[in-house]
């Protein structure tokens, strides 16, 4: 049941967004030379079609929800499995975001090692020794591969971390 609600919410969001983006396109500066197929021509076709289809999807979701009205009572009840799964996805998402920030400020080596260590706790795994060895080895191999073999730059971070990373690459 919850997936039908999500379907409805997403279709409605896309419907609203399509209309908004259609009006944004309507405000694009006009060019006299290409007046009949201007910068807004293609985006308007896309977003008008998308509004039409997402409108149909939203109406279908509403009808489907109404047909199974009695099942709505349990729509927001989360099973333990679902909760654990959602928690793992959120934790992984949050760690990736933190890695993105750390990537710029701490530099590649520290950020990558820490990320590999922490992210391996999100998915159940018992062998702590392998966890540490893998994180260290993978970081070293990537640093060598990118900086020595491919000669491509890796982020060095800022401040004291920059000075530290300069020692390695």
């Amino acid at each position: 049941m919850a997936h039908r609600l999500l379907d409805l919410a997403f279709a409605s969001l896309l419907f609203g967004l399509s209309i908004f983006l259609w009006f944004v396109a309507d405000g694009f500066p006009e060019s006299r030379r290409f007046a009949q197929a201007d910068a807004d021509f293609w985006p308007k076709i896309i977003f008008a079609t998308m509004a039409l289809i997402t409108g149909i999807l939203a109406i279908r979701s509403v009808l489907s929800l109404r047909q199974s009205g009695e099942e709505m009572a349990g729509a927001f009840t989360m099973t333990a499995d679902f909760r654990a799964s959602a928690l793992r996805v959120c934790a992984m998402g949050a760690l990736i975001l933190i890695y993105f920030v750390a990537f710029q400020h701490l530099g590649f080596i520290l950020a990558t090692f820490a990320f590999l260590m922490l992210a391996s706790f999100v998915i159940p795994y018992k062998n702590n020794v392998t966890r540490v060895i893998f994180a260290a080895c993978f970081t070293v191999v990537l640093v060598l591969f990118f900086t020595q073999a491919l000669e491509l730059p890796l982020p060095r971070g800022s401040g004291v971390f920059y000075d530290l990373n300069v020692l390695f690459y």
């Binding site: 999500l6 500066p29 910068a39 293609w42 079609t49 996805v89 998915i123």
Partner: protein, 502 residues
């Protein structure tokens, strides 16, 4: 043409490292194909940033080798633990897993490997024979024809994907919409940048596809309970004997032909080819009742078809510049970062690249056979690798690869945003393939439509009534009708089954 092949062979032997690249790419492809969820698309997407350090020919050799290897790789997990590593191997599990359960896992892998190699070589020969004349024919194409081809690509992949056609179309439109961000290609007007200067050049394609496929996959897998306990890893591949091989020769020939033909149709691809070949194998068999219990033809048919479709799907990419599948759409991104625009002129301006890829794919199929015999047991071990280590490592590869492209952190941000978006689309069952095809074909479709209208003096009838354009647009309409009909039929069947059960 012979001169072009001569030049291609000279390139390969003049650059012995090309052979190493092909070997690496086949092994990489088999490894990615064999792990459920990773798929060849992720394998290709992750390698794109690394192709930057090679010349375009070597880069494309690398990507096409991964495509070849991954299509076979999917069958390993399908046979060993009934979970196809890639969608195109789904059909292989129907007979591969029952055969493995009978204690004949090695034989099943051997049939899959030999059939994959034969199908792959057949598809590559079709590619070699058909791509040049098709490119010659495509020189007659004007903007209206290209617009119609782009429309066919999006509608076909939305309609034939097997899910909701409307959701497929929305996903395609989302891709088209995102492709409009940046400067208008004709007037130079800013569109949807909302004052952000880094969006002026548009949404970078490579970070977008890496995010949509690889990162979204890691997020998805993080939420699943993954078990590697049931994998059969103690196997040694046994190629079929000459007698067994001859017994499946008609199946192999028929399935390879179906695969090459279906692969060449924009938007259809290897999965459909595998299923159609399987049903044809059942239809032509003298003992159709044995299918599903572990018969050799049940493995040979889908495997030869899906590998043959690889060569077939390269035809529209190289000859027309229109990707026929999600993997070739990703490969198109890899080509564009080298400044190469696939299409009819590519055959004339970059003959060495095109013909080297033909030969490279041929070699990749042979190498797949060589490595597959000895290494299947090691590829089976890949399935045992804990995702707690593999998943985060893929995130690191995505971030590092995208950053290394332009040393631009905004690209990494784009990849993360597209990863989250791709995850949402997957969860809500909006097909990612349609989204990526839309993203790739967006600029082609828009430019062709507007140029075509200008040329025809904004006469819409003149635009759509050109013979090839009309045929392609009618084919788009037919594919949509077919998709809606298929969806309606599935719904009716489900209702009938529900009524019968309750």
């Amino acid at each position: 043409m012979l001169e072009a092949y001569g030049s291609a062979i000279a390139y390969l032997f003049g650059n012995p490292s090309s052979f190493l690249l092909i070997i690496f790419s086949v092994v990489w492809g088999i490894a990615f194909g064999s792990v459920p969820g990773l798929t060849g698309i992720v394998g290709v997407a992750l390698l794109i940033p690394f192709t930057f350090v090679f010349d375009p020919t070597a880069g494309l050799l690398l990507l096409s080798g991964v495509y070849v290897g991954s299509t076979f790789g999917g069958s390993i997990s399908a046979i060993l633990f009934n979970t196809p590593g890639s969608p195109e191997a789904a059909c292989t599990a129907l007979d591969g897993y029952p055969m493995a359960k009978k204690g004949q896992a090695g034989k099943a892998l051997g049939i899959a490997l030999a059939s994959s190699a034969i199908g792959g070589i057949f598809g590559t020969i079709v590619l070699m024979l058909l791509a040049p004349p098709m490119a010659q024919f495509a020189l007659n194409f004007g903007p209206p024809e290209y617009f119609a081809l782009a429309v066919l690509g999006i509608t076909a992949i939305s309609a034939i994907g097997g899910g909701s056609v409307l959701k497929g179309l929305v996903a395609g439109l989302l891709g088209l919409g995102i492709a409009t961000v940046g400067l208008d290609p004709i007037t130079g007007t800013e569109r949807y940048t909302f004052g952000n200067l880094s969006l002026l050049t548009g949404i970078s394609f490579v970070p977008a596809i890496i995010g949509t496929f690889a990162l979204a996959e890691v997020l998805q897998r993080a939420g699943e309970r993954t078990s590697t306990a049931d994998v059969i890893t103690d196997v040694s591949t046994k190629l079929p004997s000459m007698k067994e091989f001859l017994a499946t020769r008609y199946t192999l020939l028929r399935s390879s032909s179906i695969g090459a033909f279906i692969g060449a149709l924009p938007g259809v691809g290897a999965t459909t080819a595998a299923f159609i070949s399987y049903s044809e194998a059942v239809r032509w068999s003298k003992r159709p009742q044995d299918f599903g219990t572990g018969v050799a033809e049940g493995i040979a048919a889908p495997e030869s078809a899906n590998n043959s479709a690889v060569g077939g799907s390269m035809i529209p990419l190289l000859a027309l510049g229109i990707p026929g599948s999600a993997t070739t759409a990703v490969m198109l991104g890899g080509l564009t970062i080298h400044g190469i625009i696939p299409g009819p002129l590519l055959m004339e301006t970059n003959t060495q690249l095109v013909y080297t890829v033909f030969i490279g794919m041929f070699i990749a199929n042979i190498l797949m056979l060589v490595f597959g015999i000895r290494a299947a047991r090691y590829f089976a071990l890949v399935l045992k690798a804990p995702y707690a280590l593999v998943g985060p490592a893929i995130v690191v590869l995505c971030m590092t690869g995208v950053y290394a492209l332009n040393s631009n952190i905004v690209d990494v941000g784009v990849m993360l945003a597209m990863g989250a978006f791709g995850f949402l689309l997957r969860k809500l069952k909006y097909p990612i393939a349609s989204f990526v095809i839309g993203l790739v074909l967006g600029p082609i479709a828009e430019r062709s439509l507007r140029q075509g209208l200008v040329i025809s003096d904004y006469d819409y009838w003149d635009f759509v009534s050109r013979p090839i354009t009309a045929v392609l647009l009618i084919a788009s309409l037919v594919s949509l009708i077919y998709g809606f009909y298929g969806q309606w039929k599935r719904h009716q069947d489900a209702q009938a089954a529900k009524m019968a059960a309750g």
